[in-house]
Symmetry: C2
Subunit: 236 residues, 2 copies
DNA sequence: GCTTTGCTTATGTCTAAACTTAATTATACT
DNA sequence: AGTATAATTAAGTTTAGACATAAGCAAAGC
């Protein structure tokens, strides 16, 4: 129900819960300065480091604002954060109890279009691998993937048989990334999307667009179009 | 470019960076067990607690898997996490240098429809406040909000003048929540969406649906429809 | 062979104490 | 008054040491 790391029962967790309660019950109002770490340490009978850990968690969550010397305040307008897990398609499909398979619709080496080169911070004129893949769950199309891979940052990509392992899994297993851009959007299905996803042109699709980099430059830029009606869940 | 909490320069941060480098450079491969905290503490010349902090950060990020006694391993299939900040509409619009205003299209007390009652975990037959709002940036529609508010969990809601303060801001400032459900979806604009967002019926819209609870029960359930073409950015 | 039991180990958590650093407040100076 | 400077404070970080706990391992028992 709350943060990931938390193994539920620990002094720090208990403090997190209690502070959260005080905020929700409005004992501590938005903008209020709360007692300092030393005071809370005495109140809860723990070391200051433990209070520090608890308050840091709440600050990461966006519920508290902390500044050196100025103290800790309850965030006034918490622009709350949500964490979303971007799963591996296959695991997602199999996790839902369906049979997974994928199909490479097209694979070729091609000049990066301007739009792609720009997204990947590459000079124009680079040759990239272009892959189009459909992922199926129980033989029904689940996701359409349009991917460009940079062989400079992902050496060996030319030799992979993507019929056997899908492009995402191969990349994820072989090229951890340092930085990524992730973007969500809604788009009306074009003719190709519609055909591959077995739906009508114009249907609203959830689009995830992601570009990843390692120390050698952009690894890959991908556009994922989910099947109509798909919804993505985020946890606060 | 990386984690939120990080104050950039600290021993723990340096360790995070170095471990990340070793993973990216494949000195430590996926599935490999890495040296234990004690060994890394000696290697980096710091206390074990410092190594622990650094490795915890990387584990939270999903790059490492840690288990008691079993040691720490590089995650095999990192289902990476992304954080998205759900901003206050007004701040978002003003932050983009536009003039913000909102318009309450309708406000009434009404019986919760089944679908809404279910989403809010409420027994059927509850009276809720139903609000429809359009948020504008420079007089162009930016977001359409369809909201149900539970007066039991948000007492005082009946007395608020939502022409003056928009529903979201009032709620956020007065009723911090404990738990939330957040969901993203794409939908084709219906007639009402199209009219309010000044677009054509059928246009693909990004939809954010969110329900929040405090200790008194569900506070509010809201469906936000963003203007066509809007994209949401997440950071890893 | 299979299961149980206990030992061992790596991480998880906490503590007390120290030092660092940003930011506020007070003070002295112009 | 306005500005520069120093003192103070609260959070940020680190350390060394301790104990807790889950999980792997091996020996003993069935």
């Amino acid at each position: 129900m709350n943060d990931r790391p938390a193994p539920s029962s620990s002094k720090a967790q208990a403090i997190v819960a209690e502070v959260r309660r005080r905020i929700v019950d409005r004992e501590w109002r938005q903008g209020d300065r709360i007692p300092d770490e030393a005071a809370l340490a005495i109140e809860f009978g723990v070391a200051r480091a433990t209070v520090n850990k608890a308050l840091q968690m709440l600050a990461d969550e966006g519920l508290l604002d902390r500044k050196r010397r100025a103290g800790t305040r309850v965030t006034v307008n918490p622009a709350r954060k949500a964490t979303l897990t971007i799963p591996i398609v296959r695991e997602q499909i199999e996790g839902a109890g369906m049979i997974y398979h994928h199909r490479i619709v097209s694979q070729k080496t091609a000049l990066a279009p301007d739009e792609v080169a720009q997204r990947m911070d590459l000079p124009p004129g680079r040759m990239l691998i272009h892959l189009q893949t459909v992922h199926y769950g129980d033989a029904k199309p689940f996701q359409v993937e349009d991917r460009w891979i940079n062989p400079v940052a992902a050496p060996g990509v030319e030799l992979v048989d993507f019929q056997r392992i899908n492009p995402n899994e191969w990349l994820v297993r072989n090229f951890p990334w340092l930085r990524a851009d992730i973007e969500f959007r809604a788009e009306n299905a074009d003719a190709r999307d519609a055909r591959l996803l077995d739906t009508r042109q114009g249907t609203a699709l959830l689009i995830l667009q992601r570009t990843t980099w390692n120390d050698l430059g952009a690894i890959t830029a991908v556009r994922l179009a989910f099947r109509p009606g798909y919804s993505l869940t985020a946890s606060p």
